[in-house]
Structure formats: structure tokens, C-alpha cells
């Protein structure tokens, strides 16, 4: 596993048919940091993730992860740069089992070369056992062993969220982008997420950027917070600084009113 690097985003902008979904946003995320992005609905949070993970190409701005210019990578190479992600609407392989989903998470680490690497050939078998071991570690870590052989379509919402996080960890990222990891979860499940995020940061040394509405969770796990509204940056700082920022309060009140 390579070491975490700094994510630096400069003057990032994207327009969708005249709508400035993200406008001139810059921020750095240091190695090992947990960085939260907050903002009202439609603020542009998921769009920032989609830009970093190369689903969208920005109309302006640059993004680097360490030395790597992310704009030079296609979406399917993002994982090779050490960036893993989850989605706001959970994107899993619905008709496959949990274990199969996680094994696909190992795809980028499987031997790239031999085209016909049949899984029953001895060399391939051995590497498959190794991948399986990594997957089992993550299954234990996120306590999803009881679902191992179940199909995704049979799982509860909370379990799916865990599986998606597990699959992202299976790619062995150094930077993890989590889009609303606690949305739709009950209090107990949210506590679990808070606990895992702590472990992911401290035990695995993974840098985390998360979009989250639950300010309690953000306060517990985030080192720094960035607040945005209408695609524009409002404030960056510690959770308390951002919570007490006048602009941020106005944006949230404006939405509530």
C-alpha cells in the first residue's frame, strides 16, 4: 500500500447548461486528515466528488493527489491512484453476493497481465486465496460476516451501506471519498459508522473526505470542515469555527426559512 498524499483542489468549477454547480472552489486535504464537506441540498457536494473521481470533467480548475494530476486519469484509473469512493445512492452489484461484490473490489489488485487467467490454474488460485484473505479481514472489520453469501438485493439499507464501504476498502485506498455515509441510518448504525471512520483513520491511516448532513457525526470525526452553498465556498475550518460562521448560519437559515 502506498502512503497517503495531499489532495489539492484549485479553482474547481463546473457548469451544467448554465447552472454553476461548482464555482471556483479550492481546498487541500492533508494525509491522514478527515475532511467533511457540508452544505444545503443541491449545494454541489456530490458534484465535487464526481469531479475528483473523474465522472465529470471540470470547466476550469485543477486537481492533484500527491504528484498525480487527476485530470490525466480516466474514471477507471482513479482507483489505481489510491482513491476509493462510495455513492450517495449506493451503487452495488445488485444480483451478486456480498462476497462477490467485495472480490470485484480486488479487481485493480489482481494480476493484470495474462489475459486468460482462469481461476482454477494454480498460480491464479494462490493469488485468489490471498485476495480472499484481504476481503475476509474487511468483512470482520465491518462486521458483515453474517451477510457474506447473501445477495445485495436481499439486504437492508444499512447493511448495503456497510457493504459499499467494505467494497471501497477492498480497493485498498489511501484516500476515501464517502458521500453521506450516515444518511438513512438509525442512531445505533450511525454510532457504528463514527467508530469505523475513527478506525479507518487511525488504524488504516486512510485520508477521508466525507459529505455529511449529520453535524453530530461531523463534529465527532472531522478534523476540518468545508461549507459550501450554491457551488461556492462559504467557510473552511474546524467544526466549531464553521458551525459558528455567520455565512454558514445564514445559508442554513435561508434554506430552513
Amino acid at each position: 500500500m502506498s502512503v497517503a498524499k495531499t489532495l489539492s483542489v484549485r479553482n474547481l468549477s463546473i457548469e451544467f447548461g448554465g447552472v454553476h454547480a461548482v464555482e471556483d472552489i479550492s481546498f487541500d486535504v492533508a494525509p491522514g486528515e478527515t475532511f467533511a464537506i457540508i452544505g444545503p441540498n443541491g449545494a454541489g457536494k456530490s458534484t465535487i466528488f464526481n469531479l475528483i473521481s473523474r465522472l465529470y470533467t471540470p470547466t476550469a480548475g485543477t486537481m492533484h493527489y500527491g504528484e498525480q494530476d487527476l485530470l490525466r486519469l480516466p474514471a477507471h484509473k482513479i482507483v489505481h491512484a489510491g482513491i476509493g469512493r462510495t455513492f450517495q445512492n449506493i451503487e452495488l452489484f445488485e444480483h451478486a453476493t456480498v462476497l462477490q461484490n467485495l472480490m470485484v473490489g480486488r479487481h485493480s489488485h489482481m494480476r493484470a497481465n495474462p489475459f486468460l487467467n482462469f481461476a482454477f490454474l494454480p498460480g491464479v488460485r494462490k493469488s485468489e486465496i490471498e485476495h480472499r484473505r484481504k476481503v475476509e479481514d474487511i468483512i470482520d472489520f465491518l462486521e458483515i460476516a453474517q451477510y457474506r453469501e447473501q445477495k445485495i438485493s436481499d439486504l437492508s439499507y444499512g447493511a448495503r451501506k456497510n457493504v459499499e464501504l467494505a467494497r471501497a476498502l477492498c480497493t485498498e485506498p489511501t484516500l476515501l471519498l464517502l458521500d453521506e455515509p450516515a444518511s438513512g441510518l438509525n442512531n445505533e448504525e450511525t454510532d457504528d459508522v463514527s467508530f469505523w471512520l475513527d478506525d479507518i483513520k487511525h488504524d488504516l491511516g486512510i485520508t477521508i473526505v466525507m459529505v455529511e448532513h449529520d453535524m453530530n457525526l461531523v463534529g465527532q470525526v472531522a478534523d476540518r470542515v468545508m461549507a459550501i452553498n450554491n457551488g461556492r465556498l462559504l467557510a473552511i475550518g474546524t467544526p466549531d469555527e464553521v458551525r459558528n460562521d455567520v455565512e454558514v448560519q445564514r445559508a442554513y437559515l435561508g434554506v430552513a426559512a
Binding site: F87, L92, E94, Q100, V104, G105, H107, A119
Partner: protein, 312 residues
């Protein structure tokens, strides 16, 4: 339509007075011919289903890959003179390359367009391929020398043309290879994952676009193999690709999203055809579509619904 009515070998002449039960050896003969024909439909249908599962595109030009494959194998065997098998491998590989390029250069660009435009485009490909084949290989009917011109005796009951047996064996081998590829190789598993969720597949590092083109290549390869193996029964001309419509009917009968379903549907249609032609000469050549219509009325989702467990 000519091409569609061919291929059952010498049929026993229907008795003029009344239909009687066929003697056992004729039944076996017709059944094996039907299975062989059905296997050929099945090989083409495999391409329909694979491409559909990967991209939700129904490639109405798929039968043309079969036709081009037959011509390519014929051309390689005439030009190189190395016999059937090298020509077979080279011919199928070149059509696989054509399939790859069709996706990578053209289909990839119209992803997201309406189903109607995609439908029209693939139908247009069919016309273009037929025209190109006519210009390149001529409009005459040609025949291909294959090693399968003998007969195989089963006991002393019935003699079967070995071309039929070759198709059945080739189908078993190709389907087995496909099954192993999708179930047991990294790329096969990745292709299945991508067909379930492209977005997630991207972030697992799967080169989705390249694999979709590879799916087209595999589908085209198998169709080309079917074309070459079927050549002793159908001969080769620019219209044999119309068999693809029967393969499509078979795939619909079996359940379009399921590979075993599509194969079974095609074999069913292949077996029903020669018997229907014998007993019901009024619907000669169209029994496949009758079966399809009946299935669509009775069981619109096809006989087998997603029995194919996606192994990811």
C-alpha cells in the same frame, strides 16, 4: 427468405394421402438435424444476449457477423490453402476484430441516444454488411470445404451427417468456454460486474468501455464460428445472416436475459422446425415465429427467467 427455408437436409417427402407417424429413424434424423440447426441459432443468440446484457443494445446486425464469418473462413481457406482449421481460426478472429471495432468506433459514440436510433443504426449495419460482403465476395452462392462431409452411423438405426454433429460439439465447447470465461476469469467476472452497474465498475478499476467492445468481439467470434460450421448445411451467400432473426426469436422464446434460456429456446425452435415443416407444410419456414408469438402471448418473459445466476 431463401436462406431460412434451407438447412434441414433431405426431408422425407410428406405422404400425399394423410400424415402418418414417421418411422423412428426419420424421427431421430430430423431431431438431430433440428438440434444442430438450433445450436447454430443458439450460437448467434449467445452474441445477442451477451451484447444486450452488457449494453442493453439489441444488435440486429448480429446475423451478419455470422455471414461475414462464413465468407472470411472461406476466403482464408481459398487464399492460404492450409485447410479448414487455420482458416476457421483466422476467419473467426478477423470477425471478432470487426465486432470490436464496430463497438469501439461507432456504438460507443451513440450510447445514451434513444432506443429507436440505436435500433435503426444496427439494422443499417446489417444492410451495409450485406452490401459490403456482396462487393467483396460476390453475390453467388458459394460452398466451403469442411472436414465434416462424412456420415456417422448410430448403431444400424440411422446415419447422421457429421456436419450436424460438428455443430453440436462446437456449441458445447464454445458454451463451456464462455461459461468458464465469465465465471472464472478476472475479465469475465469484471464484465458481469459492469453489466450490473457500470458506475460502480468504473471505480473498481474496470475498463468498462474496453470490456464492452470485448463483449462485441466475443459475440462476433461465436457468430462467425456458427457461420462457418453451418456452411455445409446452408451454403454461403450474402443472405444467410437472416438466420439471425430466427436466433433472435429463439432468444425471445427462452428469455432474453438468460444465456441458458436463449440456448434452450433456440434448440426448441430448431427441433420444432423440421417437424412443423413436415406435418404443417402450410407454415413452412415460419414455425419459429409462430412459436415466438405463442410464447410472447402465454409467457412474455420467456420460458426461463433469469435462471442464469450472475456470478460476480
Amino acid at each position: 427468405m431463401r436462406a431460412m427455408c434451407r438447412g434441414h437436409g433431405p426431408l422425407p417427402q410428406p405422404p400425399t394421402e394423410e400424415k402418418v407417424l414417421l418411422p423412428l429413424n426419420d424421427v431421430i434424423h430430423l431431431a438431430i438435424t433440428g438440434i444442430a440447426q438450433g445450436c447454430a441459432y443458439g450460437l448467434i443468440a449467445l452474441g445477442f444476449v451477451l451484447i444486450y446484457k452488457a449494453t442493453e443494445v439489441v444488435n440486429f446486425a448480429h446475423g451478419e457477423f455470422m455471414m461475414l464469418g462464413a465468407f472470411a473462413v472461406l476466403t482464408f481457406s481459398e487464399v492460404l490453402g492450409w485447410g479448414f482449421w487455420p482458416a476457421f481460426v483466422l476467419g473467426c478472429l478477423s470477425i471478432a476484430a470487426v465486432g470490436y471495432l464496430v463497438d469501439a468506433q461507432i456504438m460507443r459514440r451513440i450510447i445514451g441516444e434513444s432506443q429507436a436510433s440505436i435500433f435503426i443504426l444496427t439494422v443499417a449495419f446489417g444492410f451495409i454488411f450485406r452490401a459490403l460482403a456482396g462487393m467483396m465476395f460476390g453475390w453467388n452462392t458459394r460452398s466451403l470445404d469442411t472436414p465434416f462431409d462424412g456420415k456417422i452411423a448410430i448403431g444400424n438405426l440411422v446415419e447422421i451427417n457429421s456436419d450436424r454433429v460438428a455443430i453440436i460439439i462446437a456449441t458445447v465447447l464454445l458454451v463451456g468456454a464462455i461459461y468458464l470465461f465469465f465465471g472464472r476469469t478476472r475479465y469475465g467476472v469484471a464484465m458481469q460486474a459492469a453489466s450490473q452497474n457500470q458506475l460502480a465498475a468504473f471505480y473498481m478499476g474496470i475498463p468498462v468501455k474496453r470490456l464492452v467492445s470485448l463483449t462485441w468481439a466475443i459475440g462476433a467470434f461465436i457468430a462467425a464460428a456458427a457461420g462457418a460450421l453451418l456452411a455445409p448445411m446452408t451454403q454461403i451467400d450474402t443472405t444467410i445472416g437472416l438466420l439471425g432473426i430466427k436466433a433472435l426469436a429463439g432468444a425471445i422464446v427462452g428469455g432474453f436475459g438468460s444465456i441458458p434460456g436463449a440456448l434452450l429456446g433456440c434448440i426448441l425452435i430448431g427441433v420444432i422446425e423440421p417437424f412443423a415443416d413436415y406435418y404443417l407444410p402450410g407454415i413452412k419456414g415460419v414455425s419459429a415465429y409462430v412459436v415466438m408469438l405463442v410464447v410472447l402471448f402465454v409467457r412474455p418473459e420467456g420460458l426461463i427467467v433469469q435462471t442464469y445466476q450472475k456470478k460476480v
